[in-house]
Amino acid sequence: MNKNFKKIILVALILLILSGIIILCTIGFKKSTMYAAGTRIETYIPKGYNKQDIYDIAKDSFVNKKFSIEEVEKLNQVVVIKLQNYTQDEFNKFKTSIAEKYNIDVDKLEIYEISQPTIRISTEVMPYVLPVLLLTIFSLIYILFRNIKSENKWNILLKIIGILAIIQGVYFSLILIFRIPFEIYTMPLSLAIYIITLIIYVNYINKNTVTATK
């Protein structure tokens, strides 16, 4: 690959990561309904309910609003809709539709609006920090010993650290820039990318070392 092209790509990636850092420091991640502060609309349906029906009613009542449905208890009698903003009319429509669907008197329908605190992203991220740090340290020690005789051993280590940092930086920057909601799978996906990058790169170094030896 042309050296200038490589440099352009590198500069572009660094700019992308810097933009991500600026967004992180100013407005932060966009949280999904699971993590963002909002309201839980808890509805008690004595006869039991069908999740798809609840989804359809909620979609029809809270037009163009993002929401999630949680099934509470194992008796299938309590359902929770989590969403951020809605009007009283939308709430009333939801209440009436549920009452109609399950033949419950609207006044007797047990439905509660409960405010929900925001969930800090750091509580999701922190459990991953120590294992990933240890994985990196032990892997670097292993790679150092494997390439102990190589003159480029320090370059190899720096390259690995750089590649891992850039790929993770790009991943989170894309999430931040394109306002992709932080979801339950965001951290596992980041971990998967991290480990797979590490394995592929270590395999690549090994391949090159073998070819050079040949």
């Binding site: 699971m34 502060a37 999630s68 449905i69 949680e70 099934e71 509470v72 208890e73 194992k74 309590v78 929770v80 409960i114 405010s115 929900q116 605190p117 925001t118 969930i119 800090r120 509580t123 459990p127 991953y128 120590l130 294992p131 240890l134 994985l135 032990f138 892997s139 292993y142 790679i143 494997r146 339950i184 799978y185 596992p188 971990l191 998967a192 480990i195 797979i196 590490l198 394995i199 592929i200 270590v202 395999n203 170094i205 090994n206 073998v210």
Partner: protein
């Protein structure tokens, strides 16, 4: 010779197909007129299964406080309909408005985390709404029942005079509390040791009528009151209540407390002989001492909801499954197109190894979490690298087949080493959803290492002969 080769190969293919069938479909046996899979079910972690959620909200109710004619606060339990006129009452909010601050809410969250640690619970998530003070606790795994009673406790330890209802010592007067017990001739005695601060020490030293003198040499120098006071006077005067929140833990005489240096020892129960009573008293004292040491909650809370919330990510699992099927199909196509016969064999053994792995994790009862899917991805990569190295190496005609296999394993050593580091590091994580990923990688690592030796290598050997 060729016939023998075909028979052996067919047998190996049948074994692989059998393993795939068992792993993906199961073994069905007739039980009570119905066919049931005898393989154990998969175990899922809470992120795929569900979790228990507790909601704790700031107590916004009012309490009625009664005062006697002298203006002294009295225990509300002593006020009845008959004697109500003798007291004046006042309605007060349980939580004063000035206490409802962001800092106090944060302090409550901090103390609750300490209490959860004391209850040996580390698999939880605590979310605090700093505006309203609402706390949502999510327990992903089993948690002790004590949580319901211990978390909302105020943690207010007080020593109150039984006669005057004066607070002799309260939570601001000591730094920490410890529980202990000692055996005497009459049985066991349970103690609370209050490490007093300066104000606490001053208060205790000022109460000379209670006959307590600081020990100068660290031994018991309490003045004996037995011979100087008659029994009725002692009963009337020398009693104090150990209060924890609104509960009276014990009522003791002043002879039951002893000041040694800066530590006030309070005997909360004596002459205990039954094992269950000793254990119960000691448990109570331990809980009180720990909660009192962690500090009083600056805001009173109530548990307002306790719910079991089922996982909401079933739709994601479908996508993950589809992604895995696509990746595995692409890998299989790559091998079959590039390596033809040998490619087909490694694809078949790949399927058998995955099946074997699925059977093992079912028997080993390893929980599958979202992070577990990361483990699956690592294992697919690990097997792909090993098998590709194997197929490349066996092409080398300068070495024997076994030398080529050995060479392929050696070429894959780095990938195996990194996977092993993943297992070691992640298995010891405090979060179960992360540690189970480490265990998945370990079992997969072992199955890939040995499974390829048992299935792929013999089949490739037959084809290559």
């Amino acid at each position: 010779m060729k016939k023998n080769k075909i028979i052996r190969l067919t047998l190996m293919i049948l074994i692989c197909l059998l393993i795939i069938l068992v792993g993906f479909v199961g073994i069905y046996m007739k039980k009570a007129n119905a066919y049931k899979n005898i393989l154990p079910d998969y175990t899922f972690a809470s992120d795929l299964k569900g979790a228990t959620v507790y909601e704790l909200e700031v107590d916004d109710s009012n309490e009625t406080i009664y005062y006697d004619k002298e203006g002294k606060k009295v225990d509300s339990s002593t006020v009845t309909d008959e004697n109500k006129d003798e007291y004046t009452s006042e309605e007060k909010p349980v939580n004063a408005k000035e206490n409802l601050t962001k800092d106090n809410y944060k302090e409550v969250a901090k103390i609750m985390k300490q209490r959860l640690k004391f209850l040996k619970t580390d698999q939880y998530r605590l979310d605090l709404d700093e505006k309203t003070g609402k706390i949502v606790l999510t327990f992903e795994y089993a948690y002790p029942d004590d949580i319901k009673s211990i978390l909302p406790m105020e943690g207010r330890l007080q020593l109150v005079d039984s006669n005057t209802e004066d607070t002799i010592l309260d939570y601001t007067d000591f730094k920490s509390v410890e529980a202990s017990y000692a055996s005497t001739d009459d049985g066991y005695t349970a103690y609370l040791h209050l490490k007093l601060n300066d104000s606490g020490l001053q208060k205790i030293n000022e109460i000379d009528k209670y006959k307590i003198v600081p020990a100068s040499d660290g031994t018991n120098t309490e003045e004996s009151t037995e011979n100087t006071e008659d029994e009725s006077t002692e009963n009337k005067v020398n009693k104090l209540k150990i209060m924890f929140d609104e509960d009276e833990i014990a009522e003791v005489t002043y002879d039951d407390i002893l000041l040694t240096g800066k530590t006030l020892r309070v005997a909360t129960a004596s002459n205990l002989t039954s094992d269950s009573t000793i254990q119960s008293k000691l448990n109570t004292n331990t809980v009180i001492s720990k909660l009192a040491t962690m500090g009083k909650l600056p805001v009173v809370y109530n548990i307002t909801a306790e719910e079991y919330v089922q996982s909401n990510i079933a739709s994601y699992i479908q996508y993950v499954a589809i992604a895995f099927i696509i990746v595995c199909t692409l890998v299989a196509l790559y091998f079959i197109i590039k390596f033809k016969k040998e490619g087909f064999i490694v694809t078949l053994t790949f399927g058998a190894i995955i099946s074997l792995f699925l059977i093992i994790i079912r028997y080993a009862k390893i929980e599958i979490s979202i992070n577990g899917f990361v483990g699956f991805a690592i294992l697919i990569l690990l097997n792909t690298v090993l098998v590709k190295n194997m197929l490349m190496c066996i092409k080398d005609k300068n070495r024997t087949f076994s030398e080529n296999v050995k060479h392929a394993y050696l070429k894959s050593i780095d990938v195996f080493a990194i996977s092993l580091i993943v297992f070691v590091v992640f298995s010891f994580s405090a979060m179960t959803s992360i540690s189970t990923m480490g265990l998945l990688v370990f079992w997969g690592w072992l199955v890939i290492l040995l499974g390829n030796l048992a299935l792929t290598v013999p089949m490739l050997a037959i084809v290559k002969k």
